[in-house]
């Protein structure tokens, strides 16, 4: 399923998403797309060009956009509402709760520029809470694809699912880790690499970084098991508990606050179903800042090296009772 480690190809999730939306529009006349004056950034401009009568620019009014999408869904349309992840998850939270999540309407919400890599726009436009916010909403499915292939597949899967879906997308080209034969399924985790010493649970772009970390760990004689969770909710509990039992140690990795996101979800499940020594790689409950992608990942501890370090740390503590 996975391409070679040296795959040079990079695709931005937003580009894959934009192309998939166009194809989806060809296949399904009920699909409509809304944007809040960011169509060029979110790549819904492609859908606009291909299906102009089914594209609606709502202007800089995210709350209104969510309400309009909800109204359309009550009439049998399948709206995709687009804006940046930071605005989708916070500016319009109440509208999503009342008009979309509570009545379980068939609205798909795509949050672009998630995580830290939002150009150099800084903390206002980075999105490090969206998974936690969306995950806490009953009825909401939360998808966090790891590459362009998975992002495109997630678009199709979201439409097959009847209900609200939040999809987390990213801005810049990132490594492709799946090939075209990949079958995405909502709620299913994917083993990117088999190993028995420590499990790295990843979501989003951390999948590719975890594979790099796993390569690095081999030199230390540590065989990491990499379990990718493109669906943060509902989480694939079975795969998670099985991996945790097998390796006895878990490191989570996400471009998100360590509170309430993937790490939080994994800790909740393992706390009840198989207590496991854990480390969470992510934003340490802080906002970040403007900077180059490389500098941001380095300063805020989100590189492959940071994941590998967390893995070594838990491996050395295996079997010990931790002093906090």
């Amino acid at each position: 399923m996975r391409k070679g480690v040296t795959m040079p190809e990079n695709i931005a999730l937003r580009d894959a998403y934009g192309r998939a939306l166009v194809e989806l529009g060809n296949a399904n006349p009920q699909v409509v797309v809304l944007d809040a004056d960011l169509a060029l950034a979110t790549r819904t401009s492609m859908f606009h060009a291909a299906h102009p009568s089914r594209f609606f620019d709502i202007g800089i009014a995210e709350q209104n956009m969510m309400g309009i999408a909800a109204g359309m869904a009550t009439m049998g349309l399948i709206p995709f509402a687009n804006t940046l992840a930071c605005f989708a998850s916070k500016r319009a939270t109440d509208q999503i709760r009342i008009a979309i999540a509570q009545p379980k309407l068939n609205v798909k919400i795509a949050g672009g520029f998630s995580g830290l890599l939002a150009g150099k726009t800084g903390k206002t436009h980075q999105s490090v809470q969206d998974i936690a916010i969306m995950r806490s909403m009953p009825n909401m499915v939360v998808l966090v694809p790891g590459d362009g292939v998975e992002a495109a597949a997630a678009v199709w899967a979201a439409v097959e699912y009847d209900g609200p879906v939040y999809m987390r997308l990213t801005r810049d080209p990132s490594p492709v880790i799946f090939d075209d034969s990949y079958k995405f399924q909502i709620g299913r985790g994917v083993v990117l690499r088999e190993g028995q010493d420590v499990t790295i649970v990843t979501t989003g772009l951390m999948g590719a970084r975890a594979l790099e970390a796993a390569d690095e760990l081999i030199m230390d004689g540590i065989k990491a098991h990499v379990l990718h969770m493109p669906t943060v909710k509902p989480m694939d509990e079975e795969a998670l508990v099985a991996a945790a039992r097998r390796t006895g140690l878990v490191v989570t990795a996400e471009e998100h606050n360590i509170l309430g996101g993937l790490g939080g979800a994994v800790a909740e499940i393992l706390g009840e179903k198989g207590p496991t020594l854990m480390r969470r790689v992510g934003l340490k409950d802080t906002y970040a800042e403007s900077g180059s992608n490389e500098a941001l990942l380095e300063k805020y501890g989100l590189t492959a090296r940071h994941i590998a370090r967390a893995c070594r740390d838990v491996v050395t503590r295996r079997g010990t009772i931790e002093d906090v």
Binding site: V32, F56, G67, I68, A69, T74, M75, G76, I98
Partner: protein, 280 residues
């Protein structure tokens, strides 16, 4: 699906809705009497004369849509739906009980409820979405949204106002229940919304004004709105909060309050007198 009801009959129905509302709020010991009573004549006119609907087919795709954006007026909305035949009196009596489909604020899984509401300022956006979808699907239907006057303090209302004008949604009729009171007191003191007609006109809407307790005029305004093209229409209905119950009228304290035994008795007596007079 214009109904056979005469203006006199509509007045009687409005009064019956008020009495049911008082009973519901009394029994549940919870609810919003003031803004329910102010909307009684509007709901009677809409559900018994204006809206194209079929209570036997609540999911009929070509029905007109109605959104109670001021979701706290749920008691009178439920009374209206029951009287119109969407569910039984027995269901109505479960209002406020656990496991009832009649939630404190409207939920679209209740027969006849087209949209869930309850957090103010959101209904007009939903109306825009429904109206756009109707146009895209080639369905000839109208979308009605009832807003509170305090509710237009929410910024989202004006986002929706812009969008409805942009898309020229002349099949939307917004109605403002302009009873001039909100939780903390007079709207004009809490946060003035005037000049309200000018605001909607400036947002490129047609504006009509009506006595919100004259069912005949409400019906005629809704018919006039159907002839106004190119823009959505806002009907500003001048109402009295708590209308029909002397001690509730124009009293912000009755925005959200339960009734004592004596208050219930007095309210019902006044309303039965009203109904008797209407039918005299």
């Amino acid at each position: 699906m214009s109904s056979k009801y005469s203006e006199e009959e509509l007045k009687g129905i409005a009064n019956r809705l008020r009495r049911r509302t008082i009973e519901m709020i009394y029994r549940a010991k919870s609810g919003h009497p003031g803004g329910s009573l102010s909307a009684a004549d509007i709901l009677a006119a809409l559900y018994f004369k204006v809206l194209r609907l079929d209570p036997a087919r609540p999911d009929w795709e070509d029905r007109d849509r109605f959104i109670l954006s001021k979701g706290h007026a749920a008691p009178i909305y439920y009374a209206t739906l029951m009287e119109r035949g969407y569910f039984s009196e027995q269901v109505l009596s479960t209002y406020g009980e656990i496991d009832s489909c009649l939630q404190g604020h409207p939920d679209m899984h209740t027969p006849g409820v087209d949209m869930s509401t309850g957090s103010l300022g959101q209904g007009l956006s939903v109306a825009v979405g429904m109206a756009l979808a109707a146009r895209l699907k080639g369905r000839d239907l109208r979308v009605y949204a009832l807003l509170g006057d305090g509710e237009v303090q929410e910024g989202q209302v004006w986002e929706a106002a812009m969008a409805a004008a942009k898309f020229k949604l002349d099949h939307i009729l917004g109605i403002i229940d302009h009873n001039r009171l909100q939780v903390d007191g007079p709207v004009d003191m809490v946060m003035p919304i005037g000049p309200i007609a000018d605001k909607w006109q400036a947002f490129n809407w047609h504006v009509l004004e009506v006595d919100g307790h004259d069912v005949g005029d409400i019906v005629r305004s809704c018919e006039t709105a159907k002839t106004l093209k190119g823009k959505p229409t806002m009907l500003i209905a001048h109402t009295v909060k708590g209308k029909g119950v002397s001690f509730m009228e124009d009293n912000a304290a009755w925005h959200s309050r339960a009734l004592t035994d004596a208050e219930r008795e007095k309210a019902l007596m006044e309303l039965s007198f009203e109904e008797g007079r209407d039918h005299a």
